[in-house]
């Protein structure tokens, strides 16, 4: 379709030229008696110039020739013959032809230059669009996508970008119908190693399906650009070839930049992780060692001087050691939970549960600590069953209630409320304690963060982050808010339709 149309377009100028000469001759015929024939030549020249401007050199040359012939045949006496009675007309013919040829050459050259300029402008626009897209890409993946979209759009072809991998090269991003197979991969790898184009429309391995260009920068080859034209196309053509290399070098710079950014981002991440790990390790080793110091100290002194220590002191030492071992046990449990949550290895075993039962079991676990506390419960008699991991949700509630006990005075009440909302359940644990500084309300859910550290309150700074992890795997939210009067309220929102696992 496209080709036959192009052919048509090429023939049309010649027909129009013939028509123009015919019209000039026809009009000239009317006035040939009235004015000197030589003056009519001016109109022929006008036609030559017009043809040259519109269609370029060859139609213009034809117009000159036709003009001479038509002028001689129709307008120079004797009419309707190529014979010439006046010799001076021979000079007119030669002049007309010469001027026609020169004008056609000059105009067509100007025209070519204009077209080249237009082409360059278009290329510049394409390069500009690519560079704009590349500049807007904030990751390697986005850079590759921009390259693919632009190159594919400009050339109406399938594109693949190959990136260096452990062994050679691998297609990093490609259109799904780009021919990717072992053979094509080998050519891409060759291009990567040698930094020269190869494949289709080159001298190296031209039998392959696609054309490959290295993504070259001054610092080396950063990848390979592959373009594949569907259908049979003879070659790239010099204009397209140049544009493609220009695009490739721009793409190369972008890929290089993206890779360097990625590397530096990774380094930054590694540094940050290392810093955090060191801080974490310091904190953990301190937390682990403190109870151990007490346990070891108490037990060793008992072992050494059992008989000389007063019975009362012995009991005291043993109680301290026992308390600290409990603390150590909680810490180890919390660390294990935290590790599991962070590794995404927290296995939920959700089953339909009665929230009231979960709360009851949590309170039972804390019954020794709660003995003298005033617990005010507001739980609706009828609650739908919720899909929960019973033990995990218990851990959340035990943690929140335990916090309420620890961070409020023994003579203040603790309130536990459950409210059924449209598609979720709200659980609130409210105390009348010291409250939490406003700026810490979000950070208290961070690992190892402890907001208020009143004396006599021990903790690992892990409990709330574990709660958060557990609530979130249930598809819920947890947050804290200071009460208008006193103390703090922890709220857990759980979806009624808990997410399936």
């Amino acid at each position: 379709m496209k080709k036959s149309k192009a052919k048509q377009n090429k023939i049309v100028p010649y027909f129009v030229s013939i028509a123009l000469v015919a019209i000039t001759t026809f009009l000239g015929g009317f006035i040939r008696g009235a004015i000197e024939p030589a003056n009519i030549v001016i109109f022929y020249l006008l036609m030559v110039v017009m043809t040259a401007v519109w269609w370029g050199r060859y139609p213009a040359i034809m117009t000159s020739l036709l003009s001479v012939l038509a002028f001689d045949y129709f307008l120079v006496p004797p009419y309707l013959t190529f014979a010439v009675s006046d010799v001076q007309y021979v000079f007119t013919f030669i002049g007309l032809l010469a001027v026609g040829l020169v004008v056609s050459a000059l105009t067509s050259k100007t025209r070519q230059q204009a077209m080249d300029a237009l082409g360059r402008e278009e290329q510049t626009a394409m390069l500009y669009r690519l560079s704009k897209d590349l500049a807007a890409s904030d990751s390697l993946a986005a850079v590759l996508h921009a390259i693919r979209m632009n190159v594919g759009g400009i050339f109406d072809c399938r594109v693949a970008v190959f990136l260096p991998a452990d062994h050679g090269i691998t297609p990093g991003s490609f259109d799904h119908d780009f021919p990717i197979d072992e053979h094509e991969n080998t050519i891409a790898a060759w291009v990567f190693r040698n930094g020269k184009p190869a494949g289709w429309a080159t001298d190296t391995l031209p039998a392959s399906k696609a054309h490959y260009l290295p993504l070259n920068t001054s610092q080396g080859v950063f990848g390979v650009l592959g373009v594949f034209f569907k259908g049979d196309k003879a070659g790239l053509g010099p204009g397209a070839g140049n544009l493609l290399s220009a695009l490739a070098s721009q793409a190369a710079v972008a890929v290089q930049r993206a890779k360097l950014t990625e590397i530096s981002r990774q380094m930054e991440l590694i540094r940050e992780t290392e810093r955090l790990q060191t801080a974490l390790l310091n904190s953990i080793s301190h937390d682990l060692r403190t109870p151990l110091v007490t346990i070891m100290g108490a037990l060793s002194s008992l072992l050494q001087d059992f008989s000389s220590i007063a019975a009362e002191t012995r009991k005291e030492l043993l109680e301290t050691a026992y308390e600290e071992s409990g603390h150590l046990n909680r810490l180890v449990g919390n660390l294990l939970d935290m590790t599991r949550i962070e590794a995404g290895a927290l296995k939920m075993k959700t089953k339909p549960c009665e929230l009231r039962d979960v709360i009851g079991a949590s309170l039972h676990l804390l019954k020794d600590k709660l003995e003298k506390r005033d617990i005010q419960m507001h739980i609706p008699r009828v609650l739908p069953e919720i899909l929960l991991d019973f033990t995990l949700m218990m851990r959340v509630l035990v943690n929140l209630i335990d916090n309420a006990i620890k961070y409020s005075a023994p003579d203040t009440p603790i309130e536990l409320a459950v409210e059924l909302l449209e598609n979720k359940v709200k659980i609130e644990v409210k105390d009348k304690g010291f409250g939490i500084p406003e700026e810490d309300l979000v950070r208290i859910f961070d690992k190892f963060y402890r907001a208020v550290k009143p004396r006599q309150v021990t903790g690992t700074g892990l409990g709330l982050s574990i709660c958060k992890g557990i609530v979130e795997v249930h598809g819920g939210q947890i947050f804290a808010k200071n009460n208008p009067d006193k103390g703090v309220t922890f709220t857990v929102m759980l979806p009624l339709e808990a997410k399936e696992t």
Partner: protein, 227 residues
């Protein structure tokens, strides 16, 4: 009273032995599953304390094999992580469990509880805990001296727990006892939860904070023998 301790950790055996001996029990030790199976029969223990994480055999298998030969009460030692093993062992016939690490007093209480259940049936026809009293012979339940009316299912559930007072009853065991059900479990479990909730509403002083019938998370229920 003879107690068999099965644990591959020497230090744990040592501390268990010290505690038990000082409370007047005769203690035998086994460090692996094979020894456990041998001594479970040959040394005629009254109670077996069995660690689930033995190197040579699966703890649930050991429980099952011991149950094939004897009714000796088994108390399982497990860590928090192998909850499903714990349930499997209880279903296979273990009587109770302790999660490591545990309080020595807790262990002694569990041993006393399983031993008490070995007493002759007749003594158990009247069961009392706190203000709750149940007379199995009379089919009557009283709270604070006032008779409580229970539906047949609620009574059946309470009866199963009374007959196994102090012992954990797994969901599976209760379903089997009351509805003789092993299939269609989720629906039966729902029925069990609803029945339990209604039963607690009738007998617990504060159903939001049950004290008589305790929930063993993910495992089952246990009727308290003393408050």
């Amino acid at each position: 009273m003879r107690i068999l301790i099965v644990d591959d950790e020497k230090t744990i055996r040592r501390f268990l032995k010290a505690t038990l001996v000082s409370h007047g029990y005769d203690v035998f030790e086994a460090a692996n599953g094979a020894e456990a199976l041998k001594y479970a029969v040959s040394s005629h223990p009254d109670v077996i304390i069995l660690d689930l994480g033995l190197p040579d055999m699966d703890g649930v298998d050991i429980t099952r094999q011991i149950r094939e030969r004897s009714k000796t009460p088994i108390i399982i030692l497990s860590v928090r992580e192998d909850e499903s093993d714990k349930i499997a062992a209880l279903d296979a016939g273990a009587d109770d469990y302790l999660t490591k690490p545990f309080h020595a007093g807790e262990m002694l209480a569990r041993i006393r509880a399983v031993m008490r259940r070995l007493l002759p049936q007749s003594e158990k026809s009247l069961f009392t805990v706190g203000k709750l009293s149940i007379d199995l012979a009379q089919h009557s339940v009283e709270v604070n001296g006032h008779p409580v009316h229970l539906t047949p299912t609620e009574y059946a559930l309470l009866k199963v727990l009374v007959l196994n007072a102090g012992k954990i009853m797994t969901h599976g065991q209760i379903l089997k006892e009351i509805w003789d059900k092993t299939e269609d479990v989720e629906e039966a479990l729902h029925l069990l939860r609803v029945t339990m909730s209604n039963l607690r509403n009738k007998i617990e002083p504060d159903p939001d904070m049950p004290t008589y019938i305790l929930t063993e998370p993910c495992v089952g229920y246990r009727l308290c023998t003393d408050l």
